[in-house]
C-alpha cells in the first residue's frame, strides 16, 4: 500500500472493545439519531441473490466471489469479486485488500481498494487505505484516509483524445460517454438567502 503507516497494521483486538483504535468516538450513546434520514443501510446491504457474511461471522483468509457479496461481519485477508459488487455493511469490519467492479463501504475498511468501475464511501463509513478506481463517491460524514487514483479509460485507437479541460467527458469502453462523477451530497444550506460572500484581495506580500 502506498505510504503504508503504522496505524494501518492490524492491532490486537481486545475481547469486548472496539476493533479499531481510531474508530470515530464522537457519537455518544445518548445522542439522538440524525434529523435527516438517509438511505437505509439494511436495504442496501442485502440484495436478493447476493452472498452474505453475517455480522457474527469472522473470516481470515482469501475470499473469491463470483457474485455480489455483502460483508457485515469481520474479514481479514483479501477479497476479490472482479466482475461484481462488494458491500461492506454497516457492521462490517474488514482488514483486507478489496478488488471488485464496485465497492460500497458503509462500515469500516482498513485496506486498499481497487474498484474497476466505482468506489462509494457512505456517511459514517471509515476507510483507511488507498483507492484506485474509475469513479469515486464520498458522502459527508465519511472518514477517509488515503490516496485516490482515478483511472482514466483509454480512448479507442484512432479517436482524438478528449480535451484536457473536460476530463469528465472522457470516453468509456466502446466509446460510450462516461457518467459524471457522482456527487452524493448537495452543499448544505446553499440557498442564496443564507449565503455570505467573502472576497479577498492581496494586502501584503513578503518575498
Amino acid at each position: 500500500m502506498w505510504n503504508k503507516r503504522k496505524e494501518d497494521e492490524y492491532p490486537p483486538r481486545p475481547p469486548d472493545g472496539p476493533s479499531f483504535p481510531h474508530a470515530p468516538t464522537d457519537t455518544k450513546a445518548g445522542d439522538p439519531p440524525p434529523m435527516t434520514p438517509t438511505r437505509t443501510h439494511e436495504a442496501e446491504s442485502v440484495r436478493p441473490g447476493s452472498a452474505m457474511i453475517g455480522k457474527s461471522v469472522t473470516i481470515r483468509g482469501q475470499i473469491f466471489s463470483r457474485e455480489d457479496l455483502t460483508i457485515d461481519g469481520e474479514v481479514e485477508g483479501t477479497i476479490e469479486a472482479q466482475e461484481h459488487r462488494i458491500i461492506i455493511g454497516p457492521n462490517g469490519r474488514v482488514r483486507a485488500t478489496v478488488k471488485a467492479r464496485e465497492v460500497l463501504i458503509l462500515g469500516q475498511l482498513y485496506g486498499n481498494v481497487e474498484a474497476g468501475d466505482k468506489a462509494e464511501i457512505r456517511r459514517d463509513a471509515k476507510l483507511v487505505g488507498d483507492v484506485r478506481t474509475m469513479r469515486i463517491a464520498i458522502e459527508d460524514g465519511a472518514w477517509f484516509k488515503g490516496s485516490i487514483d482515478i483511472v482514466r479509460p483509454e480512448a479507442p485507437k484512432g479517436q482524438p483524445k478528449p480535451p484536457a479541460s473536460a476530463p469528465s467527458n472522457a470516453a468509456g469502453p466502446g466509446g460510450q460517454p462516461l457518467p459524471p462523477v457522482v456527487v452524493s451530497t448537495p452543499p448544505a444550506n446553499s440557498g442564496a438567502a443564507n449565503s455570505g460572500t467573502v472576497d479577498t484581495a492581496p494586502a501584503e506580500v513578503k518575498l
Partner: protein, 204 residues
C-alpha cells in the same frame, strides 16, 4: 462579511486569491501528488483528480479530536511533546518529498506549540522542493473561539465553507509569529481578506 456572535450554521462562499494562486500553480504541472488535510469530500476529490493529480486525503482535526479530545484540556494534552510526536508519527508519517502541494486550510491555528512545530517540520520534509502549502489564520488575535469549517473547492478561486463548530485557537497569531513558524521555508506570501482572515501561500 459581518461577524455574527452566533455560531454560523450555513454554508458560505469564499473567493480566495491565495487559493487561486495555489490552483494556478498546480494547473501548470501534471501528475502531482497533493495532500488535503481538511477531510475528504466529493468536491475536492473531483476538482483535484480532474486536473490529473493524485490526491491523498485525511481529516487532521478529526484525528486531533480522537487523539487529544475531549475539548476540555485538549491544549494541555497537545502540549505533551512525546504525545505530539507520537500523534504526528501516526498521522503525518509520509516519506520525504512525497507531495507537491498541501491544502492545510485553517488547521494550524488549533494546534498547540509542540504539535504545531512538529507538524510544520513534517510538512517541510514531506513536501518536494518548491512545493506549496495553502493555509489560513483568523485575523482576530483576541478572539476566544473561531468558527471552523469544512472547505470545499467550488471553483479555481472559490471555496464553499460548511460550518463544523467553534474552536479555541491554540495561541494568538500575528504576521510575525506566522513568519517565525515558517522561517526555514523558501517564501511566504500573505493575503489579508476583508474579514481579517490571513490567507497564506508558503513555498518550501
Amino acid at each position: 462579511m459581518a461577524r455574527s456572535a452566533e455560531p454560523a450554521t450555513t454554508a458560505n462562499e469564499r473567493t480566495s486569491k491565495a487559493f487561486e494562486q495555489f490552483v494556478t500553480s498546480i494547473r501548470e504541472r501534471e501528475n502531482l501528488s497533493l495532500l488535503d488535510l481538511g477531510g475528504a469530500n466529493q468536491a475536492n476529490i473531483t476538482f483535484i483528480t480532474e486536473l490529473g493529480h493524485r490526491l491523498y486525503a485525511d481529516d487532521l482535526l478529526r484525528s486531533v479530536d480522537v487523539e487529544f479530545g475531549p475539548a476540555e484540556g485538549m491544549q494541555e494534552r497537545q502540549s505533551d511533546p512525546e504525545r505530539a510526536q507520537e500523534f504526528l508519527s501516526h498521522n503525518l508519517d509520509f516519506p520525504e518529498d512525497s507531495f507537491d502541494g498541501v491544502l492545510l486550510w485553517d488547521i494550524l491555528q488549533f494546534l498547540a506549540p509542540p504539535l504545531l512545530e512538529g507538524a510544520v517540520d513534517r510538512l517541510y520534509r514531506i513536501l518536494r522542493p518548491d512545493g506549496l502549502v495553502f493555509l489560513m489564520f483568523t485575523g482576530n488575535e483576541k478572539t476566544k473561539t473561531v468558527p471552523t469549517y469544512y472547505y470545499r473547492i467550488s471553483g479555481p478561486r472559490n471555496l464553499t465553507l460548511t460550518p463544523r463548530g467553534e474552536r479555541a485557537p491554540a495561541q494568538a497569531f500575528n504576521n510575525r509569529s506566522i513568519e517565525k513558524i515558517f522561517q526555514r521555508w523558501g517564501a511566504i506570501k500573505f493575503f489579508l481578506a476583508r474579514d481579517n482572515v490571513r490567507e497564506l501561500i508558503v513555498r518550501r
